[in-house]
């Protein structure tokens, strides 16, 4: 494909289409609406379906319903809508229904700043729905990566039967960059795992790899799906001998595949005493500051987190073994820094925060680097 000047939100929409998304339900909200507009225009041309629901609660519900019906499904929203979606995101975790939720983060809390950038929902992504659960969340740094990580989000969601959150931000969503998208037909796609025959089908069995194949409704597999704790047949249970193995399996399916789920970009330098850890739009500023600092002859490493959850503990441990100090720039009051501090030790981590809707600038980061060295 030719090089195009493209917005992040557009790249997210095309990434979804390339990944095989054929259902979108959403509700208008700044700064994510361009995703819905693109899907409304493009999906019916591909035989896919778009619907504008009455609110974000309904959008999330419709996405899960369509996924159970067999279509790869997505919604896109921002803070207020993301809050409304939380209960049903938990339902998708509990019932193991693949789907993708895009949050183009804006300044919060509450109505906050609709066109102001933020990374304020990073911990909500981890713990926003009630109950102990695992989740996958990705965060793109560029327009092209918005495309790639949307594809990755769909593939991970199908492979591990889980909702995947694409945690973009207003800057990535609205920024335009020249990009060259790959041929959609050549994009690697994880399709739904094929089930055994209906007679042998046990919807929540302890399958190898801990991800049971998912049968689509209306294809001859009649089974029960519920948000209650359920036995391997999908029926509600309160028996500990059925609940405990289920809890173990649904955690193991993440814990045993962290290498596959966790994507990072490591830019290390021998002899560096200091490292930057960042993600999303903040990582752009960090990369720029890194370049300026290296030009001045400073030795600095950088780790960009592309997968936010599950957290890249091993990569942080590696980094902490190489450097003395870690700086964590982010557009909040220090959310991912908490995780870095947990692994590297609090006295080795310095937060660089801006939580007023504006970017952490390269100069802010450079100043912090110079003050630290």
């Amino acid at each position: 494909m030719a090089i195009q000047l493209m917005q992040g939100n557009t790249a997210i929409g095309y990434g979804a289409i390339a990944a095989g998304c054929r259902f979108f339900a959403g509700y208008p909200i700044t700064p994510s609406t361009e995703v819905a507009e693109l899907m409304a225009r493009e999906l019916p041309r591909l035989g896919g379906k778009f619907i504008q629901m009455e609110d974000e609660i309904a959008s999330m519900a419709a996405v899960i319903g369509a996924s159970i019906g067999g279509l790869k499904s997505m919604t896109a929203t921002s803070g207020p809508g993301f809050s409304l979606m939380q209960e049903n995101i938990g339902y998708a975790c509990m019932t193991e229904v693949p789907c993708v939720v895009v949050n183009v983060q804006r300044l919060g809390p509450s109505t906050g700043g609709p066109t102001s950038a933020s990374q304020g929902d990073m911990l909500q992504a981890r713990w926003g729905t009630h109950g102990d659960h695992q989740i996958i969340a990705l965060s793109p740094v560029s327009v092209r990566q918005a495309f790639d990580l949307t594809v990755a989000a769909f593939n991970l969601s199908e492979k591990f039967r889980t909702p995947v959150l694409l945690m973009a931000d207003e800057i990535i969503g609205h920024m335009r960059e020249p990009v060259e998208l790959p041929d959609f037909a050549r994009v690697p796609r994880q399709d739904r795992i094929v089930c055994e025959s209906p007679a042998d089908y046990i919807p929540y069995r302890n399958a190898p790899g801990d991800v049971p194949p998912m049968a689509n409704f209306g294809t001859g597999y009649r089974y029960h799906v519920t948000g209650l704790y359920h036995d391997p047949m999908g029926f509600p249970t309160s028996r500990l001998d059925e609940i405990d193995p289920w809890i173990e399996r649904i955690n193991r399916k993440f814990d045993d595949h962290l290498d596959e789920i966790i994507l990072v970009d490591e830019d290390t330098m021998d002899g560096a005493r200091l490292a930057l850890v960042s993600y999303g739009a903040s990582a752009r500023s960090a990369r720029h500051a890194l370049k300026l600092a290296r030009q001045k002859g400073m030795r600095i490493s950088m780790l960009t987190l592309l997968t936010i959850w599950p957290f890249a503990e091993k990569a942080i441990e590696r980094l902490a073994g190489q450097v003395d100090r870690i700086l964590v720039p982010e557009m909040n009051r220090g959310q991912i820094a908490l995780e870095v501090e947990r692994i590297a030790g609090r006295n080795r981590v310095q937060r660089i925060n801006r939580a007023n809707g504006e970017m952490v600038t390269p100069q802010m980061i450079l100043n912090a680097i110079e003050a630290d060295l």
Binding site: F23, A25, P44, R45, G47, K49, I51, M53, E54, D55, I57, A58, S59, A61, A62, V63, I64, G65, A66, S67, I68, G69, G70, L71, S73, E87, N88, Y91, N216, F217, G218, T219, G220, Y221, R222, Y223, H224, V225, T226, G227, L228, M233, F235, P236
Partner: protein
Amino acid sequence: MSTESHLVNEPETGMDPLPAEDWFESSETLQKLRKHKKFPTIWCSGCGIGIVMGALIRAIDHLGLDADNVALVSGIGCTARMPVYMDFNTLHTTHGRALAFATGLKIARPNLHVIAIMGDGDATAIGGNHFIHAARRNIGITTIIVNNNIYGMTGGQYSPTTPHDARATTAPYGNLEYPMPISELAITAGATYVARSTVYHAMELDKYIRDAIQKDGFSLVEAVSYCHTTYGRLNKLGTAADMLGAIKENSLSRQAFEKLTPQEQAMNAKVVRGVLHNIDTRVEFTRAYEKLVESLEQGVEN
């Protein structure tokens, strides 16, 4: 009909009851229940919800629908537990959201018979917005609302259909609010088929549910029921049998209602049973969408 009675009643003849296996084997209708699983139901003995489940199964059976092609979607509450007992594609979702989940499923699989099953609180309080918009959109979902005027599962709190002045655990001095007319709301919002009957009139429910399933657009059957365990106890209305009898006394057919004088109609406090609305002037949503997809395939754009 006689076989279903075994579900709730012991045989009165003094004979030993049939083993459970034989009940199921004896009837094709009963085989639409999940025979090895989840019986007895969670419902209190004497509850009206089982009557609605019986009517739904008979309706599906009568229409000869392929069980693989039927999906039951519910939310949370006593009524929402209904799908787990029946051998179809069954989806037990979050409180109030059955119609929103059902909307996604129906759009993904337009040929599936999608039936949403809700109670009054589930459908009209927490799920009220989805109820209005599913009707407005005219999406081809058959909706069954069991209206027992109370939140039963949580122990008897007032719902949007609890009558004014009636008692509930959260209305210990009587309900200050006024009830929501479920069927009338659906008609106003754009439903294309709306019928109402009661759990006393089980055969009527059979017929209305059959008609509703066959309707292309958004259809609603409101099944007026009772909750003797909470509402009945709090309002001193007697046993399940007493309440079932009262439902009979406190309802009249649409034909009888139409014979009343305008003044009598205005004063009427009884449940009006019948087909309240049946129109063909609105295109069902998934059909409209499929037409759009076809026209785009042919390169036609508005």
